[in-house]
């Protein structure tokens, strides 16, 4: 036993925290989803078994929320991957000095505190004469209430695209120079080189970015909360994760419905656990996530 005293000691703080705030919450979400816990019954919740799930299905808005979630995830994903690919291809086609500047600019939305980033969106989408978007388009409206979905997808997309951009850029950089020479000798144009050489090599990174972002978009709601708060009107932009959060944690209807919110979150937690286990098997995380970080200067 003494042999393992050292590793035990080194791992102790990390393990305690991970158990307390990762492992226990996974079980706790499932447990809470089987209770009727709310503000009224916080101290002694009653076990209701699967009772919360039929209640969820009877919610008249659940279909709309489900559709919203599909819409939000797919549109944002399309923008993220497409824009990330475009940025990576274009920035790999100019001199390194410029490429780095462009990538730094696109990282800004990710680096800025989310509240500041959303504040900028609120400012740019105001009515004329204040909002830049209204000025440019000549249509004076509050674009967040006027076109909530467009704003939502773009606001999330400008943050999300940089992830693909970085992964794809380093994948392009690692393509063997010989392939480009060979293509040039064969007289391939740049467009042909991109289509026949670069894109096939990017197949795995593209799949990885798509899979990774699908999962994180499915559960993310921070920017939606700050931009539209699920509105305007009834549930116009409310997604699954936001609804779960509001049911359980914000005073939506006066009485916070903890158990019901947990039941919604349980879906996400189960999906999250299964999908991240699959990732571990399919993707060689070692190569895709870790390698670029080991670049020591």
């Amino acid at each position: 036993m003494r042999r393992y005293a050292a590793p035990l000691l080194f791992l102790l703080p990390a393990t305690v925290l991970i158990v307390l705030f990762f492992v226990v919450p996974v079980g706790m979400t499932l447990y809470l989803s089987f209770t009727d816990m709310s503000t009224l019954t916080f101290r002694n919740p009653k076990w209701v078994g699967m009772g919360n799930y039929p209640t969820l299905l009877r919610d008249p808005f659940i279909g709309k929320i489900l559709l919203n979630t599909v819409r939000y995830v797919s549109l944002t994903l399309l923008f993220n991957v497409g824009m990330g690919l475009a940025l990576a291809l274009f920035s790999s086609s100019v001199r390194e000095r410029w490429a780095n500047q462009v990538r730094a600019v696109w990282l800004l939305p990710r680096i800025l505190p989310p509240v500041v980033y959303v504040l900028i969106w609120h400012g740019l989408t105001r009515e004329a004469p204040f909002g830049l978007v209204s000025d440019i388009t000549g249509i004076s409206q509050n674009w967040i209430t006027g076109r909530p979905w467009t704003v939502l997808v773009l606001a999330n997309g400008l943050v999300g695209a940089s992830f693909g951009m970085l992964i794809f850029s380093s994948a392009i950089k690692s393509i063997s120079q010989d392939l480009f020479y060979a293509a040039a000798v064969d007289g391939a144009t740049t467009v042909q080189t991109v289509r026949r050489v670069v894109l096939p090599m990017l197949r795995w990174p593209i799949l990885f970015v798509t899979a990774y972002q699908t999962l994180s978009l499915l559960t993310s709601f921070e920017y939606i909360l700050l931009l539209t708060d699920g509105g305007p009107g009834f549930y116009t932009t409310t997604v699954w994760a936001l609804h779960a959060y509001k049911l359980a944690l914000s005073n939506y209807f006066g009485n916070v419905q903890f158990g019901l919110g947990a039941a919604m979150a349980a879906f996400l937690v189960v999906i999250g656990v299964i999908v991240s286990l699959i990732y571990l098997r399919i993707f060689n995380f070692r190569e895709l996530v870790a390698e670029p970080k080991v670049e020591v200067n």
Binding site: I111, L112, V115, I175, S216, S220, A244, Y245
Partner: protein, 274 residues
């Protein structure tokens, strides 16, 4: 340089166009914070010092600015320092020691790295209530630190794997304890990694919104993100002051990013935001 088409300057123009929305957003923030009114990106009227009056007076029932400012500084420094310490300890054990369950531990760290932690907020709320840590800075610090650990352990493991064994072997043979060895030999050798992880966690904690927003209610424990959000959620927001608070809050981030840009680019490709 993988691709360099003959007309790459044309491509550069397209790229600059791509950057314009982001750059004009940042420009808007600075202009609106500084002037009386801004139409689009064109300032009207004079430079407005009144946008910055939140610095010397409490605005509309909010605590004075130093309260959220001090909280945010404490929050981000404690979080980033704990992340660096705790994850490098764990990473060192995983990288250098053999113990039963080592592979499983590593697998767990990897799965957690992909796992979307926001889906756990509801359960974490319950746990913090039970521990008596709800509405305390300490509670949010613990949660935020934990959420950064998978990335931190994974990153630091990569750095420790990179070190050669020989020096450590010699020290062990000379009878140095594991702990002294870790502190005196291993840690100084991975300083670039520690610095990168520290900066990354600092930026991430400084910007953190959803955790304090969910787990803190009393205004004495507000962080800067929450302070700014109270302005944003007002029905008739004073955009001049909003932008000024925004500039004040975001400035350290922008400065730190410019200094550490080169090595941060690497970490963000393993980041966790969607």
């Amino acid at each position: 340089m993988a691709l360099l088409p003959p007309r790459w300057r044309l491509v550069l123009i397209v790229l600059v166009a791509f950057c314009l929305p982001i750059l004009s957003g940042v420009a808007w923030l600075f202009l609106t914070g500084s002037f009386d009114r801004v139409h689009g990106l064109i300032p009207q009227g004079s430079v407005a010092l009144k946008n910055w009056r939140f610095l010397w007076e409490a605005v509309g029932g909010r605590p004075p600015i130093r309260v959220p400012l001090v909280n945010s500084i404490i929050f981000s420094i404690v979080v980033s320092t704990s992340v660096v310490l705790i994850s490098s300890m764990a990473a060192y054990a995983i990288s250098r020691m053999s113990f039963p369950g080592r592979r499983m531990y590593l697998g767990l760290v990897l799965v957690l790295h992909a796992f979307p932690a926001v889906s756990l907020l509801i359960a974490i709320f319950y746990i913090l209530r039970r521990l008596g840590l709800f509405d305390t800075l300490l509670g949010v610090i613990l949660v935020k630190t934990t959420l950064e650990l998978p990335l931190g352990i994974w990153l630091m493991k990569g750095f420790f794997d990179f070190l050669s064994w020989e020096m450590e072997m010699a020290a062990l043979v000379d009878g140095m304890s594991r702990w002294t060895l870790f502190r005196k030999i291993a840690l100084p050798l991975v300083r670039p990694g520690l610095l990168a992880l520290w900066t990354f966690s600092l930026l991430s904690a400084w910007g953190e919104f959803i955790l304090p927003f969910t787990f803190i209610v009393s205004s004495q424990n507000f962080t800067m993100a929450m302070y700014l959000q109270t302005f944003l959620s007002e029905a008739f927001a004073d955009f001049g002051m909003l932008a000024a608070v925004g500039v004040f809050y975001a400035l350290p981030v922008v400065v730190l990013f410019m200094i550490g840009q080169r090595f941060l680019l690497n970490i963000y490709s393993g980041g966790v935001k969607g």
